[in-house]
Symmetry: C2
Subunit: 229 residues, 2 copies
Amino acid sequence: MSKPNLQHASCHSCEVRHTSLFKSLCQEGVKSIDDAKDCTLYKKNEPVFVEGAYPKGVFCIKSGKIKVFTIGESGKEQIIRIAKQGDVVGFRSLFSEEPYRLSATTLEESSICFIKIEDFKEQVNKEPDLLQAVLKELSKESGERAMFIKTMAQKTVRQRLAIILLVLDEIYKDHQINLSREDLANYVGTATETVIRLLKEFKEEEWIEIHGRTIELKNIQSLVQEAEF
Amino acid sequence: MSKPNLQHASCHSCEVRHTSLFKSLCQEGVKSIDDAKDCTLYKKNEPVFVEGAYPKGVFCIKSGKIKVFTIGESGKEQIIRIAKQGDVVGFRSLFSEEPYRLSATTLEESSICFIKIEDFKEQVNKEPDLLQAVLKELSKESGERAMFIKTMAQKTVRQRLAIILLVLDEIYKDHQINLSREDLANYVGTATETVIRLLKEFKEEEWIEIHGRTIELKNIQSLVQEAEF
DNA sequence: CGAGCGATTGAAAAGACTCAACCACCGTGG
DNA sequence: CCACGGTGGTTGAGTCTTTTCAATCGCTCG
């Protein structure tokens, strides 16, 4: 690892802390995490962790976005979520004592802090609020995944694309969804060509605008209706 | 609720305890749970909990099987898992502080113990091993659901049916899979007719035998190969 | 004995995928 | 500065899986 280490990054001044898993930490807890963490700048398309490896800690996204996905037998990725600044990822496997089942790769230049297992678990044991937050996060994640299973099983590709666009619109704060067509297809669970064709239809309906590779939602209401979401 | 209460059921003598979430509990912990629990006999096709309701406790399956599912806008069920004796269900929502996202219904006559939120959480707080078990269970569940999403997105219906048959074969100890064609379809995420047609194909390949509604796997290896699982 | 539900079959239609070709943009190196 | 190569985006056509709808069958239960 020869990634640049951002010495100056401090949890105390980190604006995403207040929206992250760590929002309930006391001053002392913040200090512990701050001392333990290691902040790294990732370029676009760099792996953060890889399925099959054993987790050594958790990742807190200070800025940027990553895709969390798993690779099928055919080599096709299935994106499970897009994580953005303030999200803490990779802690699921810590508790299941399994290797990672998912991989994560940056979608844009990202600044990501790493907290070692021991330090993270120590804080979880010390701070009941953090433990509650972890339990809640895991539970929410599990519930959302059950809903995603239903979506995959029961919705048409067209509806799924509408849903994913709505989800992404919440993630891209400037409302300029900026994902490759392939990533989009791998999130929706379809072929790239199908995504392109459906996007064209949505554009013709004037539900979206397409600026090069970025997508801007123009009629949320119609998309919601299409998605029956 | 006027369900028969099985006074005699005791956690100490309960053979499923050693395989359940509660396997690590000490004598004292077992006693607490034993005093707190309330064991009920459910007939076939009775609801255990319903999505949208607020959870009041967790359910431990002493005997029998239940389907855990969610209902789509079209009214079609999507089965997320089949829980069997020894499984503890319904605790996800306890920690996410949400209403149930899933429903559960018995598939056969089942004896199910209920433990109230307060009593369960008390034990979780008191017994670090139980807490670890809960964290591990939630984590495993979340990981498995991610894999299920990938399966839904990338596998053909034929492959998904093969996978589900393999999963069910692990659950039905006598290897006589006993689910309605409709439930099977709602698990695989397809139409009932498709399931029937594919089962016929599997039968012709001599991968399975069909005895009325029950299915017996005859060639696990071929099914695994078909599933690329 | 009839009602009704679950299982089954058939035929037609639709949605999505695959494959192949083409285009557009971008950075590189000559 | 421009030709080149490569990647990602787009389009078209044909194919195939899966769905839908309709009808039939078989069994159980009142």
